[in-house]
Structure formats: C-alpha cells, structure tokens
C-alpha cells in the first residue's frame, strides 16, 4: 500500500524493494511509515522513546544530551528506530548512506513483524502514537494550571515507582471477574444426610470444627486488604491511595506507558535478534549491490560486536535464531538427539528435515526472552558463543570472569531476565498494623536491594500513600523491616 510519504524518490524506491523482499520471505507486518530526520530531530525522537511528542520532563532532556554529545563527538549514531504502532513509524537518519538506509529498512520490517505477531505485544495499544500526544496534552494542561514544579515533582516520584508493575498481568487473570459479596459468617454444615442417626458418623464434630476453622480463615483472608499480594503496586495506589484527581491521572499515565514499553524490554534479545536475522538475510541474499558490500559488512559487524562485560542482545539473539533454524533443519532436537551420548554423532547429526524456517516463525509468536532462553539455550551454544558469568570480587576489588559452566550461565541469564531484572515487590497489606499503613514485601531471591535507593524510593511511596509505609526485605541474610513515616526512616529486625 502506498502512503503519502515524505521519502525522497530514491529512498521510496528502496523502500518498495525492501518491503517486497520482506513479504517474499513471509514476514507479516503493519504498514510502516518511514520518516527522514536530521540528527537533531532523530536525537529528540530517540530521547522521547521513539515518539515525536511526549509530556514535558527533564529526563528526556537528559537522554537527548547523551545522544547529542555522542553524535557530536562521533562516538555513537542512531541507525534505526521504530515504534510499535499501527501503522508503524520508523525513522531514517538523513545523512546515512543508501546502503545504511536499506539495512535499516530491512531491520525495521523484522521488528514490525515481531511487534505484530509476538504474543507479548498483543495487549499493547497500537494507537500509542496518538495516546502519547494525548498524555502530553494532559500533563501540559496540569502544568499550566498548577505550575511546572509541582507537576514535575510528582512525575519524578511516580517514575521512582515506575517499575512496580505486574509484568505478567496482561497475560494472566489475577482477579475474579465478579468479586463475591461480603456476607454473614458461614457456618460449616458438613455433608448432607437424611438420616438423623447417621449424622454423628458422617459429620463427626472434629471434622465440623476443622471445616469451620477453614471457612473462618478464608473469610479472614478476604477481609485482608489486598486479598492476595498485589504486584501491580501502581494499580493499588491508583485504587486506594488518597490522590487528587490530577495526581491520579498523571500516575495512570505513567503506569500506562510503563505497560506499553514493558514487552519491548521483555523481548529485547528475541526482537533485536529477529530483526538482525532478517536484515542480514534480506541484505545478503537480495538487496545488496556489489558496491555496497564492504560498507554493509562494516556496519553489520559493528552491530554484532561484543565486549567482555556486556551482553549484546543483537549478537546473542541472532545467533540463537540461527541456531534454532539450524537445529530444526537438521533435526537436532527431540528425545533421540537428546539421548545420544556420542559427541561425534551429535556433531554430524543431520536428518535433513528442513523445518527451520517454520520453527523460527512459530517461536517468534509464542515466546519471550525468558522462555526463549530457557528452551533454546543449549550446552553447545554456550560453548560455541563463549558465554560466561561474571561478578565482583571483593577481595581483588575488580570485576572477574566467574564461571563458564553451562548450568550457571543459563541460570544467571534467566535470573537477569526474570521480572525484567527487577526485584519482585508486592503490596502485602494496605492496612498494616490496623493503622492504615502500607506494607510492601520484597520477595528475596538471592540478591539484596540497593539500600540507599530503597530508602529514597520508600520516601516517594510514602508521599503518595500519605500514611507511613513499610518495606520488608532480607538484607545480608536477615529479615528487616524498613519504615518511613513521613519524617524519618527507621528499621528493625523481623522474622520472615
């Protein structure tokens, strides 16, 4: 489909060609509108997270400065940017060579195919472009009415809590559709029986007592507030904190945007890998001219470069996709393959199944980074890609390579990806100690919280909840309750 597009004629031609190739390969994407921007504009759009318009906030300025300085000193340059929207918008840097634009377009079609088809994005707002502009207008209006400082300070506090959302909630039903009415105390009746004389035997008193206790406990749990720990802390605050109307609106904006961006963080490796896989396929097999090969190779290898202390999602992703395709082409999966002990046999295993392409299209639909790594990161792959874990050695005062063992690497990687690399924190009680205080609990999984940050965040939480707030976590192996009452911090030991 043709759009009214600002693309210059030659880029327009390139776009049509690349789009054609992408469709031939079976990619299925939203309409994609490309815009050509100069470096200043592209830095701005990048700072805004890909959108041309966001609410006013200094942190966008911060990102803008970093991007601009990087560009000015020739250290970094944004090649590609695309947003999950229907139609999708993607940006090209004016000064790039045509071969780069080609590469970017191929890469972008990979991303858009992923946005459209991966299950993690199914719940995202595909009209986010409009929604973001809408958010900007709302926040601006509040700032005009109430003052820049007041609104911005509130946004700062909300952003501090931004990660306290339930990353799984769009995919699971957490609450019943029809909450039960509260009623009178339920009395245990036991099993029904017509025969009076049998009653004692069918429902012995001990059984009735136990049953009664169970019912009472259930009722007690229901009286608890929230009924079960609420991972979506922001939602809890929206529903129960004494916020003013504008505060409620701003917080809901922050929450909505956090949910919109979350799937991109949760599929980073897959998504970047997928786009890289397709740009390299489209470029090398179809789109490249002979004269462009050197530049292409240079920039492609730049994207895939690895540094010891950093994991390059492009590299890890594309290698995994290729590995999966290869394994399913050769049939290197399933019981027979897994049970094979011979290294040589495994190495030369090839059943010529040719299922690779089909498999990767299926995987791009139903997985996210966690399940992707969990299922497809194999021992051979870890060895082949020379992956290792690293950590800080207190004795030597430096970062060191720790292990190369497959299990440890996979475990660490999964841990980094679970819950987005964020601590699991949930509201346990909205009426703690029966004093209207808030209790949030950190589910400790081996790594302590950064304490100074936790205290400051607690302060921000308190400013929204108004009443004192408490955080329970484990620090250096011991259960600790941190409390901020609006004036000062205190902490005490607790049993976990």
């Amino acid at each position: 489909m043709d759009h009214k597009t600002q693309l210059p004629a030659h880029l327009h031609d390139i776009r049509k060609r690349v789009e054609g190739y992408a469709r031939e390969y079976g990619l299925d994407f939203f309409d994609t509108i490309f815009e050509v921007l100069n470096f200043d504009e592209i830095n701005m759009v990048a700072a805004y997270g890909g959108f041309p318009n966001r609410y006013p906030h200094w942190r966008f300025g911060m990102d803008y400065e970093r991007l601009s300085k990087g560009y000015e000193y020739g250290l970094s340059k944004i090649y590609e940017m695309v947003i999950n929207n229907d139609p999708s918008y993607a940006y090209l840097l004016e000064s790039n060579m045509d071969v780069d634009q080609k590469l970017v377009m191929a890469h972008v079609y990979g991303h858009v195919d992923f946005f459209k088809n991966n299950f993690m994005f199914r719940h995202t707002n595909r009209k986010m472009m409009d929604q973001m502009a809408n958010h900007a207008t709302r926040v601006r209006r509040y700032q005009d009415k109430l003052g820049v400082e007041l609104v911005e300070d509130f946004i700062d506090r909300c952003l501090s809590l931004e990660n306290l959302i339930d990353y799984q909630s769009p995919y699971v039903k957490r609450r019943p559709d029809h909450p039960e009415e509260e009623g009178e105390r339920k009395v245990a009746k036991g099993f029904k029986t017509e025969r009076e004389y049998m009653r004692e035997f069918i429902n012995p008193p001990e059984y009735l007592a136990a049953e009664q206790k169970r019912l009472d406990e259930e009722a007690a749990r229901k009286r608890k507030f929230p009924e079960r720990p609420e991972r979506d802390v922001l939602l809890f605050l929206l529903e129960h904190a004494p916020l003013e109307r504008w505060e409620h609106d701003v917080l809901s904006i922050i929450r909505e945007e956090a949910y919109y961006f979350a799937p991109q963080g949760q599929t980073k490796i897959m998504n970047e890998g997928w786009a890289t896989y397709w740009h390299s396929k489209i470029m090398t097999q179809k789109a490249l001219d002979a004269s462009e090969i050197i530049d292409y190779a240079d920039h492609h290898s730049g994207t895939l470069a690895t540094h010891p202390g950093q994991l390059n999602p492009y590299k890890l992703g594309v290698e995994l996709w290729r590995d999966i395709e290869d394994r399913w082409n050769k049939g290197r999966f399933g019981k027979e393959y897994d049970d094979c002990d011979s290294f040589v046999e495994r190495k030369h295993w090839d059943k010529r199944l040719g299922l690779g392409r089909e498999k990767i299209f299926e995987v791009r639909k139903h997985y996210n980074d966690v399940t992707f790594i969990d299922e497809f990161l194999t021992l051979e792959f870890v060895l082949d890609q020379r992956l290792f874990t690293y950590g800080y050695n207190d004795k030597h005062q430096r970062w060191e390579v720790l292990e190369r063992e497959f299990k440890k690497v996979k475990e660490k990687l999964l841990h980094m990806l679970t819950n987005f690399g964020q601590p699991l924190i949930a509201v346990e009680d909205g009426n703690f100690d029966n004093r209207g205080e808030l209790l949030v609990v950190h589910k400790h999984d081996g790594v302590d919280l950064k304490l100074d940050y936790a205290r400051d965040t607690l302060k921000h939480l308190q400013s929204l909840w108004r009443r004192p707030v408490n955080l329970v976590s484990r620090i250096e192996g011991r259960g600790t309750l941190f409390r901020y009452d609006g004036k000062e911090h205190s902490d005490r030991r607790v049993e976990l």
């Binding site: 701005m44 966008f60 300025g61 803008y64 952003l159 501090s160 010891p308 290792f388 720790l402 950190h442």
Partner: protein
C-alpha cells in the same frame, strides 16, 4: 525550528547545575564518554540523574558476558558497570577533559553572579567599514570587469542590431558593452576591547597571591571574551619599575624589590594613548597588588594619573588588593578616598581564594 526537547534539556541542565530542584542534586552522577580528538583521548562528561528505584545492589549482582577469559580473569576496566574501578594505570594515554565550553562557562558565571551584560562603550561611534559588491555598473576598473554580464550585453546588442549569426556565433564586445562590478561601503559596528592586567611582583607578593590573581584574571578574561569579539590582553608587571611581559611570564615571575605603582600606571597610559585610542577601544585596566606602595608621594602621583588621564579613557578601572602577610594594604584606602565615588572604578579586597567570587562580582557587576 527549535525542538520541543530543548525545554526539557534546559531544565535538565539547570538541575545538574543545581539551580532548580536541589532535591535531585544528590542523584546526579558523573557519567562520561571516552572520545578521541586527534591523537588525544578525551573524556566527555555526560551527567545523568538516576531516579531512585527499588533495585538490586550492583556488586552483588554480576551478569553474563561473552568472549575470552578464564574463570578468575579480570574484565578489562572499561567493561561492566561504569564507575566500578579506579582509572587504569600506566596506560600511557593522555586523557583530557572536555568540560563545558568557555562560552558556557561564561554563561554560568554570569548567572551565578547575576552579572549585567556589558554595554560596550560608544557602540555607534566605533565603526569599521567593509566593501560589499552589490551590483554592476557600466564604468569601473578593468580588474573588476564582469565577463558574463559583458558577454550578455554584447550578445543582446548584436541580436538587436542583426549582426549575430547563429551559424557562426562570434560575439565581439565593444566598449559600451562592458560591465563592471560595483561596490558599496557597509559600515560594520565593531566592538574591540583590551584588558590590561597589571600586577605587583614585588617581594611581598607570594605564590598564593599570584594564584589568586591568575584565577581571577582567567574569569575576567572569560567574561569579557563573551562580550567582545576581538579581545586583546596585555600584561604589565611592576616592582619599582614596570615592563610589559607575555602571559606566561606574567603569572610566573617573582621579583623582589620595592613597589612604585605609578610606574605601571604610566606604562599602561602610554599603551592606551599610543595603541588603544579611547574612541575606538573599550579599555579595561585591572590592577592587582598587595597594596603596599613605596611612598605617599607615589600614591599621590597614582591618584593624579588615574583621575586626570586614565579614568576618562577607560570603561572600567579595577583594582584588586590581595591580602598578604607583608603588605600594609594602605593603597586601597587612598584610592577609595580619592576616586572611590567614580562610577567606572571598582575596588575590591581579596582575602583568600574564597574571596575571588565576591571580587569578580564587584569588578564585573558594574556592567561597564
């Protein structure tokens, strides 16, 4: 088009400088990028503000990497989390810091001290002219002949007179066809300025005193440079006699001997009168001393020179008295009595390095 984000950016800069929202100041982190400028490595500061979140402690976390290395091998210093270690040792590479530009520095200075913009003296009077080619005329020197226009004119004439043959297109310009570039003189208002730094290098001025002068003159330079395109700096040192020196010598000379301030003023006056005609120059004499002059007679001579000759010719005369254990500090009192009321005089006493701040404000706060 100004971008929307410039507002956000300005706000961010203000936070980093601590002008607004001081509650965020403690989250400002000094990030940096390493760049290359010619052969030198440079670090480009990119401050970031890290809004606190519930998050894991960094050191207890670690991660997964890719590449060479056996268990126990260190990751190279630049890898991993930033700010995780000391700077590499013995790298043999010179890392310069590119901080804010001087222009930006001057802005910060101006904002901090609430300095008024300088009104250059006699802006309208100081005029340079520039030639600008604005059109063509039928008369002029051959060197400015406009070939294309001449050719066109000749072609036009030949076609009109019927002597043009398209089979044999020969064009012969005659005298009347010739066209010349013509020019106009455009007046360019220009603001030139000269700073004359004078320093007492007599035995009583120690290294600390000179350091103060050096710092202060740097800031004055920066500020004035923001306002004047062509700023010249001249340096005079004096003890009992004065002489002109280059910048380097100015800051590093240590002489001993007595002090005759009038000698410096005489030299400065000579300089102004011969090279910087007050009509076309903004002149800024700055004098630093510990305030210990040789004799009352010499002080009288100084006051006389200032009152009758120097002050009428300059935008601002500034005298900074650096406190030293030896100086009597009498000079500033004498000046204050004699000329303290004139509005192009700024006098300040600088007790120590912390005093520089206030002194700059006194000097540059006049807006002259």
């Amino acid at each position: 088009m100004t971008l929307k984000i410039k507002q956000d950016h300005a706000r961010f800069r203000d936070i980093v400088r601590g002008r607004i929202k001081r509650n965020l100041k403690k989250y400002v982190q000094k990030g940096e990028m390493i760049g290359k400028k010619g052969k030198d490595f440079i670090t480009i500061p990119v401050p970031t503000i890290d809004i606190p979140h519930f998050r894991f402690g960094e050191r207890s976390q670690g991660g997964v990497g890719q590449g060479d290395g056996e268990p126990g091998d260190p990751l190279s210093p630049s890898d991993g989390q930033q700010g995780s270690g000391q700077a590499g040792q013995g790298e043999g590479q010179h890392i310069l810091e590119v901080d804010v530009s001087l222009e930006e520095l001057a802005d910060i200075l101006g904002e901090e001290l609430a300095l008024p913009r300088i009104q250059p003296k006699g802006k309208d009077r100081i005029v340079a002219t520039k030639l600008k080619y604005t059109g063509v005329s039928p008369a002029g020197p051959e060197s400015l002949r406009h070939f294309k226009r001449t050719y066109k004119q000749a072609l036009r004439r030949q076609i009109a007179s019927g002597s043009y043959n398209w089979r044999k297109p020969v064009i012969v310009p005659v005298r009347e066809d010739r066209r010349y570039r013509s020019w106009r003189q455009v007046p360019l208002p220009e603001t030139n300025a000269v700073v004359i730094y004078m320093m007492d290098v007599s035995g009583s001025m120690g290294d600390e005193q000179k350091e103060i002068v050096r710092i202060e003159s740097f800031w004055i330079d920066t500020w004035l440079r923001k306002h004047y395109k062509g700023l010249e700096s001249r340096y005079i040192i004096h003890d009992a006699v004065a002489r002109e020196v280059d910048r380097d010598t100015f800051f590093h000379t240590r002489e001993s001997g007595g002090t005759m301030i009038s000698s410096a003023y005489k030299l400065a006056l000579e300089m102004i009168e011969s090279e910087y005609a007050p009509g076309s120059w903004n002149v800024y004499p700055f004098h630093f001393s510990d305030g210990d002059n040789w004799s009352a007679d010499d002080t009288r001579l100084c006051v006389d020179l200032l009152q009758n000759r120097i002050l009428p010719a300059v935008n601002l005369f500034a005298y900074g008295q650096v406190e030293s254990p030896y100086g009597s500090g009498q000079f500033i009192k004498d000046l204050k009595d004699a000329i303290g009321a004139r509005d192009n005089v700024a006098l300040s006493e600088i007790a120590d390095k912390d005093g520089i701040y206030g002194s700059i404000k006194t000097f540059l706060g006049t807006g002259n």
